[in-house]
């Protein structure tokens, strides 16, 4: 009975937090002009991918440098389902989750045998190789040129209901429900027995094994869940205009990992914070460099440089990221 109650409490809490996030984004979007609304939509879709790293690396301790490649799997799946089979965009997003999860299953079967730098290396190779597959099988995947897809125009029923809706707002409205559901799923997974099992594997595989946890199966399950999330993010990301190899470059994987590390690998709140940083920080830097009249040749490198320095400082001074630092401050205040 108590177990059921605990699940209920966790479920309610996850629902509440997901709704808070949903409303928070809507509130922000009402304050924003269209460009920042589109950035908000970017955050909403990239957050799903960063959450996949929070699960994979933060919860289960498996390093992936190839989440961008799994995003590509989701992007191509949904784009092909829409353009070749004429499926609706919405259905294609859902199917992209399953196709990417299936991909994650195969990846997980191989990855369960690897750990540390070997796993990082394998996933990095995947990040490099998957975009090349699109070029190698050009007829099917449209090669370098890619597949043109978008969210379309806001439907009439929506504009009749709430008035004029910009293209940017519409993209946010499409993405946001998926982000809220993804957050709900990750919160639930993390706070229930499943999440505790993953953390046990992360902290000490031998101890977890002695406690009756099937290590290999657990690792595969995490890969499947994380890949489903990354695939969904990739599908949403592709529908901004194009699904092509240059939309999912290797540095996308590294950017996602950077967001997770800066925010705190083991924290969902940290994932949200980190995603805001990687999307909005370059804009802020551009604003500042514009006002300070910093030469263009230096200014164009500053965003990447700043994020790189921030990442290094986080790893050296505060490996638990922004979330860890906050927790530390809270802990200090209590005592």
């Amino acid at each position: 009975m108590s177990k059921v109650k605990t699940h209920k409490v966790i479920g309610l809490r996850s629902t509440r937090l997901s709704i808070v996030l949903f409303l928070f984004f809507i509130l922000l979007s009402n304050q924003f002009e269209p460009y920042n609304q589109s950035q908000l939509a970017n955050i909403a879709m990239l957050l799903i991918a960063v959450l996949s790293i929070t699960l994979l690396t933060g919860a289960s301790g498996q390093i992936s440098l190839g989440q961008g490649a799994i995003m590509a799997v989701g992007g191509y799946s949904s784009a092909l389902l829409v353009t070749r089979l004429g499926l609706s965009m919405w259905l294609s997003f859902i199917l992209a989750i399953f196709i990417s999860a299936l991909f994650g299953l195969f990846l997980g079967l191989a990855a369960a045998r690897l750990s540390g730098p070997y796993l990082a290396g394998t996933t990095l190779v995947m990040a490099l190789a998957i975009p090349s597959i699109a070029v190698r099988f050009e007829t099917f995947f449209s090669g370098d040129v890619g597949i043109s897809v978008d969210y379309g125009m806001p439907p009439k029923w929506l504009t009749n209901l709430i008035g004029e809706v910009s293209i940017e707002e519409w993209s946010l409205y499409v993405v946001l429900p998926f982000t809220a559901v993804a957050l709900f799923a990750v919160l639930n997974l993390s706070n229930t027995r499943t999440g505790r099992t993953w953390r046990a594997v992360r902290d000490n595989e031998v101890a977890a094994s002695l406690a009756g946890i099937n290590i290999a199966r657990t690792k595969v399950i995490v890969f499947v869940c994380a890949s489903g999330l990354a695939g969904l993010a990739g599908a949403l990301y592709g529908f901004r205009g194009l699904v092509a190899p240059s939309v999912y470059p290797t540095d996308l994987s590294l950017t996602l990992l950077t967001a997770a590390v800066i925010g705190g690998l083991r924290s969902i709140g940290g994932a949200i914070f980190g995603t805001f940083v990687i999307v909005f920080l370059p804009d802020l830097i551009e604003k500042v460099t514009g006002k300070l009249a910093i030469p263009e040749t230096i200014g164009i490198y500053l965003p990447a440089l700043t994020i790189g320095v921030l990442l290094l400082l986080t790893v050296i001074l505060n490996p638990r990221g922004a979330a860890g630092a906050l927790e530390h401050i809270r802990h200090k205040k209590k005592h």
Binding site: F32, G241, A244, P295
Partner: protein, 444 residues
Amino acid sequence: MNLRKPLILTVVASALVGSLAISSVSATAASDPGVTSSEIVLGMQLPQTGAASPGYNKVDDAARAYFDYVNSKGGVNGRSIKLVVKDDTYKAGLTISTASKLINEDKIFAFFGSIGTQTHVSIIKDINRRKIPDIFVNSGYSGFYTDPKKYPTTFGGLGTYTVEAKILGKYLKEKYADKKIGILYQSDDFGRNALAGFTAAGLKFEAKKTSASFVAGTQGSLGLGTQIGQLKANGVDIVIIAAVSSATAVAYATASALAYKPTKWAVISVGADATTFQTILGAKGVPAATSAAMLAGTISASHAPAPGDATDEYVTAFKKINEDFNKGVDKRWDNNIMQGMNIAYLATSALMGVGKDLTRAKLIAYLENNGSKLSSAAFAPLGYSKSTHEAFTGFWLGEYDATTLLAPIDGKRVVYTTDSGTGEVTVSNYKRTAIAADALPKVA
């Protein structure tokens, strides 16, 4: 793994502070964004950094230099022209974000001179559905321009790759009938468009033998050893390159390392800029004299005068403006700067032509109705009409000499013209209008 309250508050606060800092206030009073009584704002996207940037990252500085010159002379109908530039590093994912920024934050009136076929594919549909003029795109991909019903606001800024390849292909087929001709192309719309043009000219390539391709942007990281090795192994005498300048430089350096000496290289114009070629090889330790010798004899094409042609009046005028107004880091005079200046000259002409009452719709209508009459440095006429938005419809062929000057083949410049379809290649009778003494366009 709990989302704690303080963290939520921090995230909310950061986002709100960030959003307040970032949100920009529009000061546009005119009916269309980007036009006020004193200013016209144009937006450009190009690779300022990254593998594809060498050479192309000079085009924006050149265009801005010309606009600054125009502004110094009073602007266009009393309005100064402002050029806002975004670096997309030649990655489509970033192009989508930077386009959104130009449209929504910088409130541009029109996209101008954006560089990159692959990257432009990602935004062209969105730009057109918003009815934003997308003028003088620095891509020769014919698919952007030959169907104005599909992309009504997009106009070319280069001759199409198909037109250039048809003209170059016809020459190579006739001149080197007894030689084995092969091609190295980047596997995107640029490369494929050029390949289609060469094929239309009657050249035949065999996949994996006389035809080699690579993924655009990988020339620096992966190199072109496999592709050049393949052409060498198959005894290709004449190597055509349809790729960006950085790839051309890598291809030549690779051939040199493999001791492969084709009888002739023939390079599509956007990949044959001598300065870019020498700069890239210079960074690899190749002395300027050696790289000049490597380039010597290469066949290429151009719609405009060769940058090194000191006798050309447009070259002289643009060169002076470049010296006086270009604030870029690398303002060495070359093809890229020439192209930047020329499309800025064209944009000034079109904006003058529309008149004081400037709107997006009027600019598009003006280009469709009068665009073909606009003059520029090019020796070939503009093709703009209601049925096509192709820019320069002709090219002349030249060969690089030992001083890296593209000199007309056989000493006489003959401009050939054709279309992006199945039309014949013929000699053009177009006579270029002389540039005015003040180097400003004179539009009726």
